[in-house]
């Protein structure tokens, strides 16, 4: 057989390819399948959080902020536990970033609060003296795009089997259910409920009024997203 292969270079090449590809499958696939599953405690993004994620992407926050804590003591002291690949199971796309002009944000929900974010986005230097981050004042007036967030939810639920409206296990043994609306109107109602909780902790009267009117400013969605990063 080997003499036959030596005389037929095409089939020899095919044989080499099959051998190496098989080794690749055996080495890579099991680990990949294991590591890309959501870890316990990772829940899908809610409608409002997803809208906030879109705001984050739209304003290129990932150009200056990474979302990946590396396994070094200096990093885990500052940001918390190092990132696990399964924690990105619901990130499409992930926003690891390649550069830290500002700090990493992957676990910012653990150590910053709604009112801190509000002050910070309005005037970063007021809470972080010497900060070079610009203010993002328009987020307080622009309205979050709930329709697109809902469209993304529908898509990932249908094509990637993301578990909306089903129990998701948490670290303490309990489980939570992340709701997804059945229609645009329902999705907006769900997002508004979340927004009210955020707005209750905020100070800006215009934002509070907007939420009371049933509108959702971008800042509310962004803070919901920031708080979900844990």
């Amino acid at each position: 057989m080997f003499h036959w292969l030596e005389k037929h270079p095409f089939f020899f090449a095919v044989g080499v390819f099959v051998t190496i590809a098989f080794a690749g499958l055996v080495e890579i696939l099991p680990n990949f399948a294991q590591a890309s599953r959501p870890v316990i405690g990772t829940a899908p993004y809610s409608t409002l959080e997803l809208a906030g994620r879109h705001v984050y992407i739209k304003n290129s926050c990932n150009a200056c902020h990474s979302q990946l804590v590396r396994p070094f003591k200096s990093e885990t002291d500052r940001y918390g536990h190092y990132s696990l690949s399964g924690e990105y199971a619901y990130d499409r796309p992930f926003l690891w970033g390649s550069k830290r002009t500002g700090p990493d944000l992957w676990r910012v929900g653990n150590y910053r609060t709604t009112d801190w974010h509000e002050n910070h986005m309005k005037d970063p230097a007021s809470v972080v003296p010497g900060s070079i981050m610009p203010a993002y004042k328009w987020m307080f007036t622009n309205k979050a795009d709930i329709e697109t967030a809902f469209a993304e939810q529908l898509t990932v639920a249908q094509y990637f089997s993301v578990t909306y409206n089903e129990p998701v296990p948490m670290k303490d043994g309990s489980s939570i259910i992340v709701k997804m609306g059945g229609s645009v109107a329902e999705a907006k109602a769900i997002a508004l409920e979340e927004a009210k909780l955020i707005a209750a902790d905020m100070r800006d009267q215009d934002v509070k009024d907007a939420v009371a009117r049933g509108e959702i400013p971008e800042i509310v969605a962004l803070i919901a997203y920031m708080n979900s990063l844990k």
Binding site: K7, P71, K73, T76, T113, D115
Partner: protein, 301 residues
Amino acid sequence: MNKLYLGGIIFTALMLVLTYLSVGGSKGGLNDDIVNMLAIAGAVALVIITVFVVIKYVRQMQVDSASGELVDESWEGIGEYKNELPTGWAVMFLLLMVWGMWYFTMGYPLNAYSQIGEYNEDVAVHNAKFETKYKDITGDKLVEMGESVYLAECKVCHGLSADGIEGKAANLNHRLDAVAIKHAIANGANNFKTDFAGGMPPMMLSDPAQIDAVTDYIMSGFVDGHKGAEAFAMGGCTGCHGEKGEGMPFVGPKLDCFDTATVVTVLKDGKKGAIGTMPKFDRLNDKQKEAVGAYITSLSK
């Protein structure tokens, strides 16, 4: 003698002379240095070996003729000898297979490098060092440690001199301010779930005059004979916070000044107060929390 060998010897001699000249001509020469000696010995050996190995193969090309048994295949007229398996190679191959089995079953699984493993080792070493170094730390040393932790973790909001940011982060140079006291009376306080599980109900006092009096009394540092003392007792504050705001373990925190227990409680549970929400600081270990407590206590004294 073969012309080839003659040429080789002349070439070798020439190379050695050139080496001698270039080394001898450079500043200091060999300089009686053992490393220089070794280097020159290596150079001489290289020249000689290279020349004679080259000569051997050139000779072989000149005089050798093909011999041996050919294999059956012929690739477009080009044949191949049946070569015996070299013993050295075969031994190496078998040894490599043994090593491979060891590596697959023992070597890789048990001794492989892992970044997470290195991280875990780093952290374990650091924590052990921290434990032994700071086990019995007290007094000024503890305050110093607290200051360094404060500068790394708390300074961002509460500022270098701990005077906070107006309306955004509390001033830590004194225990409470009027806004915080009035907010707690009006809304209750239920922040410290770990150490004060009972919480404080809202509206223990509702008369604005009494609230002002109590606020004044607390702000005054619980001076004797203050007009707010009566309202403080009447509103039920003394039941949990003590006659002079000295606090009670597991019931009510101390009000007259910071103490380590109060600060540690805030770090454990976070705090939602008049000016916003402070996150909890799980990432600090117990000793660090205690140190921050000692530092903040030292500020308000």
